[in-house]
């Protein structure tokens, strides 16, 4: 019952804080914070309990939950957690807490409904990371959308309606394609075995003709590529990220994008090993295009949030490259990149939110010399900009380095080109840091520095980035087993070579 309670706590907490907000807004915030904290501590408990065991038991879930739901179609509420899910869930709740804290003063209207939506998005994400029944997975996948749509559409900035609608339509269309692929997979499974089921573990055994496998894989891949976002499908992202309120941007960049990568690792690789192998070079190329394209566009942005949004496209390109590079090093790198990108980008969006709250603008050109008036905040900004450009010692470096290391074994030219992305990253990172914080203060800003709450948020995130940057082993240990399973099914020869 632990796993459904993770989802239920958030759902009930969301309703609770909506109701509580009629009485007291502060109380509503505390309820929201409390429920996410409760989930975080449950996950930490599971993690601590299984730290040693992850190595010894091959392919088994830490905790699982199974309950019949729609027996006529073999749909079961099957939730399970392994190292990969656990790492991403910890990230989810960590960033969830940051999202609530970051909107503590920013959101001052409809506080209850805001936290309701925020917690329901988190509930949807939790479900996505836990679901082992493809129908339930799709359900949670869609469930993330509606509250996210409201978060952007109600509390967003100037062009919020446009951004929210675009976001919803992109993800809905791709999601429906995935739904058809899921159903077709289940139907094919039924035709070959006579059992109608949506269970992940049973569908893994489905025998598919190469053509069917390729088509079905494309159905899944489109959904995940839009969410990730991979290069040609990224256009919703800058709008949604820019227009969303801070908490929305944090959740979008930090978590929603990760569901796409998670889907590729969990579903695309193991379910469709053959076509994954075939298409790997194409997908890696798209990853590299994404790296360069995102980085180059980020250099040209004047809006701080838009800049960070494009860096996400670039960083997610590394993830795509790593997932399909076909060896464990790159895959592990991709996961580390997912976690550390969640933290560093989340922090940058929070930073943008803090600046906007103080200066009422996101234009980098309107900033400048902020170090003079806000040394602590500028210092934090510097650190996260450095993390984003991949400074050794901070989390993103580990991820990108491992991805490149692994990709080098798979495809040398692509890796060399991808490395150029790091160069562009240095450009946009330094340009932002210098233009915003260094130099004279031409606009004569006089602004309050960080408050204790903001210190606590950014400080914690900094600590996490440092931890992943200096000692990533715990993260790697906990995800290694699950990745090996995904890996073995798709690229068996690589494992032998190791």
């Amino acid at each position: 019952m632990i796993l459904p309670s993770l989802v239920l706590i958030l759902i009930v907490g969301g309703i609770g804080s909506w109701i509580a907000a009629r009485r007291s807004e502060v109380f509503a915030r505390w309820i929201a914070l409390g429920s996410v904290l409760a989930d975080l501590s449950v996950c930490l408990g599971i993690w601590v309990g299984h730290l040693g065991r992850s190595q010894s038991t091959p392919k088994s879930w830490f905790v699982a939950f199974d309950l019949a739901w729609i027996p006529q179609f073999g749909i079961r509420i099957h939730l399970a957690i392994d190292g990969l899910s656990l790492a991403l869930l910890l990230l989810t709740y960590f960033l969830g807490i940051m999202a609530i804290l970051s909107s503590w003063t920013e959101i001052d209207e409809r506080v209850g409904f805001f936290h309701f939506n925020l917690l329901w998005v988190l509930a949807g994400i939790t479900g996505v990371f836990l679901a082992m029944d493809l129908f339930v997975f799709y359900l949670f996948w869609e469930l993330m959308l509606v509250p996210m749509y409201f978060l952007i559409g109600i509390w967003g900035h100037e062009r919020r309606i446009y951004a929210a609608t675009k976001f919803f339509l992109f993800t809905q269309l791709s999601g429906l394609l995935m739904l058809v692929a899921i159903i077709a997979l289940a139907v094919l499974h039924k035709q070959s075995t006579g059992i109608f089921t949506f269970d992940y573990e049973q569908l893994l055994e489905t025998a598919l003709t190469p053509r069917a496998a390729r088509l079905l894989m494309l159905g899944f891949l489109v959904a995940f590529a839009v969410k990730l976002p991979a290069f040609p499908f990224h256009t919703w992202l800058p709008d949604a990220h820019t227009e969303a309120p801070t908490a929305g941007s944090v959740v979008l960049a930090g978590l929603l994008l990760k569901t796409g990568a998670y889907g590729m690792i969990r579903f695309v690789l193991p379910l469709f090993p053959g076509p994954s192998h075939e298409l790997a070079p194409v997908l890696m190329t798209f990853g590299v295009i994404g790296i360069l394209y995102g980085a180059v566009l980020a250099v040209g942005q004047t809006d701080l949030k838009r800049l960070v949004a494009y860096t996400s496209v670039s960083h997610m390109g590394f993830v795509l490259l790593g997932v399909f590079a076909g060896n464990e090093t790159a895959l592990e790198g991709a996961v580390v990149q997912m976690v550390s990108h969640g933290i560093s980008t989340g922090a940058l969006f929070i930073l943008a939110g803090l600046l906007q709250e103080r200066m009422h603008t996101r234009e980098i050109s309107a900033m400048g010399g902020l170090w003079e008036t806000m040394p602590a905040l500028s210092g934090a900004g510097m650190v996260f900009a450095m993390a984003s450009l991949g400074l050794p010692g901070l989390g993103d470096f580990v991820g990108e380095f491992l991805v490149l290391l692994g990709a080098y074994r798979a495809n040398v030219p692509l890796t060399v080109v991808a490395t150029l992305g790091l160069l562009a990253a240095t450009l946009y990172g330094l340009r932002f840091a210098v233009n915003a914080f260094q130099g004279p203060n031409p606009h004569h800003w006089q602004l309050p520095d960080m408050r204790p709450r903001e210190w606590a948020m950014l400080g914690l995130m900094m600590a996490c980035l440092l931890w992943i940057g200096l000692y990533p082993q715990p993260v790697l240990n906990s995800v290694r087993q699950s990745l090996a399973v995904a890996q073995q099914s798709t690229f068996p020869q690589e494992v032998v070579r190791r």
Partner: protein, 483 residues
Amino acid sequence: MSRSDFAALLPLLIISTTAVILMIAIAIQRNHKTAAVIALGGVGAGLGSLFFAAPVLPRQVTGLFILDSYSFLYMAILLCAAALVLPFAYDYLKHRHEYREEFYVLALLATTGAMVLAASRNFASFFLGLELLSVALYALIAYVRSESISIEAGIKYLVLAASSSSILLFGLALIYSASGSMELSQFTAAMTHTASHGDSVFLVTGLMLVLVGIGFKLAFVPFHLWTPDVYEGAPLPVTAFIATVSKGGVFALFLRWFQVNSDNRAGAAGIVLSILAVASMLTGNLLALRQNNVKRILAYSSIAHMGYLLVALLAGGALGASAATYYLMAYVVTILGAFGVMTVLSGPGWEAASLDAYRGLFWRKPLVAAVFTTMLLSLAGIPLTAGFLGKFYVLTAGAAESRWVLLFTLIVSTTIGLFYYLRIVVVMYARPADPGTMSEANTLPLPLPATIGLAALTGLVFLLGVYPSLFWNAIVAATRNLG
């Protein structure tokens, strides 16, 4: 006719008798509340009699009716829909200065017609049921005589429905002349008919003409032109009635006698139906995009939803009929909820039809707005609502029979559809423009009957979306023996 024949006909008898009783009661003393209670009581008794009569099923009564679990299932859906329309109609009429009582007589007659359609097995009962339904609807659409738009809609419907009925009759005559039989099963026979016989031309032509007549009632493209105008012009409860009872009854007949299976999929009828489905889905959703009147939006969306139903019907196979029935149930519940919300928000003398009437609704009436959002999301097919599982079943039925073209059209048009549902949602959650434009309905408290109706419908939307097993087994059992 034996006793059990009468028992099997009990639901039909009860509803038509109630109409007569109501007529007499109105002649004695006009009273709005009494009329509503009698009508509701009759519908309730009709629903109860379904359970009472269930043991004598399945049964053929004369050459006209076939009463089996399928027709009873559809009668139950129709009666529930009618029972839920009545409370909204009561609130709606209370604010109007017409003669109110006859509304219920007409509604009961139309319901009887729809039920006859669900149970008919012969051309004669088919046509009688259809005309009973249509004639009652002419009057219902134009019921609010002070509104010229209602009169216009009524006349438009009268002219078009009458001409489509005559086309239908001609089609029936052609089929009769070719086959010498008045059984509705001739439709299925005509669909599987190979072109070797000399009279096959008559059969196929007749079948196409019948399709025109049915397509008009269900508003498939290109027979959809009446839909937006009639939806817009008819009083809200009548619009809800057309969307649910009228279409539900015709669809019951359509689904039973136009079974598509793998033999006749490539036949002329199969191809024509596929084209109708694709055209309905795309046209309905695309035309809805630019509307600013919520009634018109829902009218166009209903065209698209009929297209989705057609996909399930065309899928056939083991799942097709069940999926179509489930989708219809989900649609009926959802659209009733949507029109119910609109009725609740309408004031005396005007309807909450324009998109502006919903601006900032969420900040004024959060619960009503939440209900409306639920209904719209269900229409769009978002998980946890009835609409999603309906779509899921349709997709599964289609995938099981590899109807990929239809499925991809469905996906694309669903996404287009999402856009205009979101438009309404966005308006509801937008800030109210300024306090001066707040309409008088804001001060009206929610009427009790409609509130109960809305609560029940919202509950049903979630029940159908979360726990389908409850209904699915019954639906599968009822549709197993078709086709």
